[in-house]
Amino acid sequence: MSNNLLEIKDLNIFFKSDKNPDPIHAVRDLSFSLKQGEMLGVVGESGSGKSITNLALMGILGDSAIVRAEQCSLNNRELLNLKEHEWQKVRGGEISMIFQDPMTALNPFLTVEYQIVETILAHLNISKGEAKNKAIELLLQVGITSPKDRLKSYPFELSGGMAQRVMIAMAISTSPKLLIADEPTTALDVTIQKQILTLIKSLQEKNNMSVILVTHDLGVVSEFSERVQVMYAGELVETGRTSEIIKNPKHPYTFGLLSSRPGAVTRPAKTPLASIPGIVPAFHQRPAGCQFNPRCIHVLEDCKLGKIPIEHFVRCLHPMKETIV
């Protein structure tokens, strides 16, 4: 028994494929935990396994996926053994999710009212009238003015930011313990981004809800989440307090990510921004040894052999000692 809300140990996700006899190993030995009321930032390039992990947590990876874990529990309740009808109660009830593009995540044919009220009725044992009042209250909470009019709206009548607020209202309507925000601001413009994130943050603090915030944007992570974990090619490469990692990244990949931000490192005028050469290797071409070794500028011979363990919260044999100013 532990006090953590979410406890994940050695999570492995495989995908069966028709072309390859061997299943694709999409997420390897991922372990992390999340306390009640904590916000965890998850950073990584596309294809690093962030979204797949979230979907596994919601139990909707589909038949082609094999999910194995020593432990994958929410509130000391093992998730992987749940039956489908039990999952339906967990999804939306205990774990909620908000998405990258709110405009496509709302059903274009149903009113906002219908969608929120149905979600509430599916999980809470209250009457339709109460659910409607709760919906109004929720819309006020997420900062939508004149919520009564908005309830009658169809999704196409909302702006992107407003739609995302509606999504958030739906997500928190059942007071979930865990909110997964999968790049909640990528599709929104920058001014709205900050409002939405501040909203998520304030709701997290108010409801003592845990949040997993998946993002590409290190700036977002540094401002909003206490803890961050960096993923690369299906592995956790570095984890720790955001403030420390931002200042003093140990893994070369994290270092590379951080120094590729505009203004992160001082550079002569009119030179291109720093970048990490290459791309994430495809699933069937994963290298031996450190997953990052083909792209690493500090690569040594021993990086190319065997499996690299996580030591002191970083999966690197030769952690960086430099700091980013």
Partner: protein, 288 residues
């Protein structure tokens, strides 16, 4: 939903053919509903002194029998008016029956895929591999002639169209993110299928329903013409046609008038169907 229909009406208003169709349909609905008030005589009443009278505007016509009488002296106008009742309710029943079964099977096939999909689709292939009227004749031959059985037969023949259309649409819609999101908010499969996905598939369904209406009327009339549909005293247009066949040369109006009625009704539903398709299909919209 409300917005959908008001937008649909707006698009439809621009289409003259479709509006003509709508007007004719409304007109025939009115005629069908108020048939007892509009018909000058009882449709089964026999006037033995006036057999095969020509319409009133042709020489030899008798006032009181506007469209003349048939071979046993029944007033043709009254029979045609009552016939609209049968034809419209036949069309309606066929559409409702085939729409409900077709939609249900199509949604299941599209949503679940796999073995269920294969079974349902092979069944539709089986039905579609025969000419629809031939297959309907086979079914009526098994069930026995009569208006109810011919409705059932024609509905079965119409089901595959609905299944195919709805299945294709569901297969597209089920991968949309709102479906995924609903699932993540704890929705079960039946909710996903019939509350989330189905309303988004409604456009092609409406088109097919209006076209299915005319197909239904036409097929039931054809069965009636072959003597397998509505039986003797019933004033069904197809049956009237068939009864009048032997008098085609001596009393052409007896064949022509029910024929025109079928033509106009079927045409008006087709016009409406085409109009709806133009209004609802975004690909067609872009071209004009």
């Amino acid at each position: 939903m409300k917005i959908f229909f008001s937008e649909l009406y707006f698009e439809l208003k621009k289409n003259r053919g479709a509006m003509t169709g709508v007007i004719i349909i409304i007109l025939s609905l009115v005629i069908a509903i108020f048939a007892p008030l509009l018909a000058p005589h009882n449709p089964t009443e026999i006037f033995s002194d006036s057999l095969r009278l020509p319409p009133v505007f042709v020489s030899g016509g008798k006032p009181g029998f506007f469209f003349g009488t048939d071979d046993i002296g029944r007033d043709l106008l009254s029979r045609l008016i009552y016939g609209s009742r049968i034809s419209l309710s036949v069309g309606f029943s066929v559409v409702v029956l085939s729409l409900i079964t077709g939609t249900f099977l199509g949604v299941m096939a599209g949503f679940y895929g796999g073995l269920l999909d294969r079974i349902i689709m092979r069944l539709t292939d089986l039905i579609m591999s025969l000419p629809s009227i031939l297959f309907a004749i086979v079914i009526v031959a098994v069930l026995g002639p009569g208006i109810t059985n011919s409705i059932v037969a024609v509905s079965i023949v119409a089901v595959p169209n609905f299944i195919r259309i709805i299945r294709a649409q569901v297969m597209v819609e089920k991968n949309r993110q709102y479906v995924f999101a609903a699932k993540l908010f704890g929705a079960g499969n039946f909710r996903l299928m019939f509350v989330e996905i189905l309303p988004n598939c409604i456009a092609p369904l409406i088109v097919q329903a209006s076209l299915g209406f005319s197909d239904g009327i036409l097929n039931v009339a054809a069965l009636g013409f072959l003597g397998l549909g509505a039986q003797a005293p019933m004033s069904e247009w197809g049956t009237m046609l068939s009864d009048a066949r032997s008098y085609i040369e001596s009393s052409p109006w007896m064949v022509t008038l029910p024929g025109i009625c079928i033509l106009v009704t079927v045409l008006s539903f087709n016009l409406l169907g085409d109009g709806l398709r133009d209004a609802l299909d975004p690909r067609l919209k872009k071209q004009n």
